[in-house]
Symmetry: C2
């Protein structure tokens, strides 16, 4: 069974097939969580899992669990998971590659009549992206006990629609209590979303941990007034304050090389008219670093930047921390079975730290977990230009499968 391998062509076909749901002109996908398009891909996914011999349940957060029986179903399942939701104008692989690789593994085991000792579970987590409902990874966060169900139900998109009403609307408000069962292990495949593997000519990234990240939401309140008759000295320009902070947080990241990163990715100006001084600006800040001390220093520097800018620009600036993830490490055994699988299968690999957040980071708090990276072209992600080589995807899915099977054998042997 060492030579058991996935069907790369079939896997690629599912990428192409589901990529049509929410397809964008430039070859990407816009499939925001809990939209009609999300419902469509969820229906497809549930059907495909049942066809592969799984029983499907949905929890109260809308996450989908496809269970494949093992030899001893009294054991906790070993899970494979990721997400099918995308960014606005996102790519065809972010999250999707992980879920569909899991599906391909279930299909491969089915047609080879391979039954694991422990049951297997393939999971599609709700709202990993966080671009419609913030913060990101809401459902895996709830499963891990980080967020209460009340909290995630109460989050709203920018139009004021709540997570719960949208979940109900698309028919995925499940009955299974969130976090109602334990996972013996959790494995996730994801595209690197960075340039390292490609630039070093490697196929597999063995992720040993993740950098920390901080998300903030800021609202600058100035005073809307006429651009042609309000003297510069008396202006309260909310956009000018936002611009100064945007330049300032960029400086803060540059001041903490080599790994620190900062981004202002979302900006909403009110009233947003060319001859009106903006009276209000809502925007976000994203800070990251693998070193907790550096991250906390950046947090303090951002705080004082915001205070100083509010004073200089005569505006009121409200700043809220909506996500705080400190740097973490994955379970040693899970990381080892991934590295061993890559080694045995002869794929060039390296250990690395994850830049982006992933559901695996949260699940790691309640189960042994690991994360497998594959290269993406130019390191580009969260973009319609996101691209993956079919061979790399096949390699990643194969490594994922053998890591899971080895982990399953070790658990059985350990008993």
């Amino acid at each position: 069974m060492q030579d058991l391998s996935v069907n790369g062509e079939r896997l690629w076909e599912t990428i192409v097939e589901t990529g049509k749901i929410g397809a964008t002109p430039e070859g990407g996908i816009t499939r925001l969580t809990l939209t009609d398009l999300d419902r469509e891909v969820r229906d497809w996914f549930a059907g495909a899992c049942k066809a592969a011999g799984c029983s499907v349940t949905v929890d109260e957060a809308g996450s989908i669990f496809a269970r494949r029986a093992g030899k001893d179903n009294s054991r906790d399942p070993i899970a494979i998971g990721s997400h099918l939701d995308t960014q606005p104008l996102g790519g065809r692989f972010d999250g999707i590659a992980g879920v569909l690789s899991g599906l391909e593994i279930l299909r491969t085991l089915e047609e080879n009549g391979y039954t694991t000792e422990s049951p297997l579970e393939l999971i599609n987590w709700t709202n990993e992206e966080g671009s419609r409902f913030s913060p990101a990874m809401l459902a895996s966060g709830a499963f891990s006990g980080i967020y209460t169900l009340d909290f995630i139900y109460s989050t709203r998109d920018r139009e004021g629609k709540s997570f719960r009403e949208e979940l109900e609307r698309i028919g995925y408000l499940g009955e299974a209590p969130v976090g109602d069962h334990r996972l013996a292990g959790y494995f996730e495949l994801h595209i690197e979303q960075g340039p390292i593997l490609e630039s070093e000519g490697l196929t597999i990234g063995v992720v040993t941990g993740a950098q920390g990240q901080l998300w903030y939401e800021l609202t600058v309140t100035g005073r809307a007034s006429h651009a042609g008759s309000t003297p510069m000295p008396v202006r309260k320009d909310a956009m000018l304050a936002c611009a100064r902070i945007t330049v300032g947080v960029n400086r803060i990241a540059l001041d903490h090389p080599p790994a620190a990163m900062s981004t202002v990715g979302l900006v909403e100006v009110t009233p947003n008219s060319r001859n009106v001084i903006p009276g209000r600006v809502f925007f976000t800040i994203d800070l990251r670093d693998p070193d907790e001390q550096v991250l906390l220093r950046m947090e303090r520097e951002t705080d004082s930047l915001v205070k100083q800018t509010g004073g200089e620009s005569r505006t009121e600036i409200a700043m809220e921390n909506v996500l705080k993830m400190m740097p973490m490490k994955f379970d040693e055994t899970c990381v080892n079975v991934v590295r061993d699988a890559a080694e045995r299968l002869g794929y060039r690999h390296r250990d690395m730290v994850s830049g982006p957040g992933h559901d695996a980071l949260y699940i790691a708090r309640v189960a042994p977990a690991a994360l497998v990276f594959i290269p993406c072209e130019g390191g580009i992600s969260h973009s319609e230009a996101e691209s993956v080589r079919p061979d790399d995807l096949t390699a990643g899915a194969t490594v994922l499968m053998h890591a899971v099977l080895e982990y399953d054998r070790r658990l059985a042997g350990a008993r």
Copy 2:
């Protein structure tokens, strides 16, 4: 007839009545040009003018002309005009005060049986604001021969709807050719939209000319990528470039005291997600100064700022000049009859230069014109907080009426 005065209470009632069309919670109005709300206020206005004894025609740009017969209708009409469209979250007086003062004057003349020598014409110009269709003052610009009908028909809002199709949709695509008749004179009343009159305790601003203004549209093209895995040195962050230019143009205005002004009022970020480096940003720049030389210097400084920023941020920046109005002066006779009326009526007044653009600035190119300012609270405009004292509005309308009547007498005497 020197003691002829408008009915201030009736004028105020029309402000309150029409203010309900597009009313916002904070006491302002959102009534963008060529929307259903614009249609509603236009229908009300046309009806009110007919009831005041006028014949109403609409030109191909949707501007409404209400004609009141004079003793000698072979003469060119003397016009009063302004606009009924508003900014998003705009105020109840910007433009509206001018049109409704004109209506009040027609009503006053009607009930006093006063007939002018020349016919009078009250005009509601289409799309003065320019916040839905850019540039501003499209219809008065077409009437003045600045814009061709083809050009204004081809302008589109941010949703891609064209000026012409929206004009047709709301039923105001008239048959009168644009600029089909001459105006013997043009008088407009407007709120100052600045703090000078209020701070000096004056009631009337005699506007002798206007500052120049330049409008630009910029599109920054960077590369959308993941905020958590794209190293700072390789980023192409379109928002960072926009922020640097926003801070830079603010500096440019501050470097040209006392009158120079610069504003970045409209910003649209793509994909606009908190954990994605913005790949594209569309934004606007508004530059103003009463001195042509200073304005041209600011233009050159802005050009080099944009070129430099594009290089530093590794982004492509396209910049288009969409409005170029050089400083101008109003007709001496028209300005004098306004000043004389304020003086005779005993209102405290001063000569001043207009900061904002107004339809009068364009009409001044094809007819003798003048502009009357009244104070607004705190100088605030293009804001729901825009506020005017009823007494000041009554005073402005009275000055406007007597200026028009005196101008009418002078024209008759001149013959």
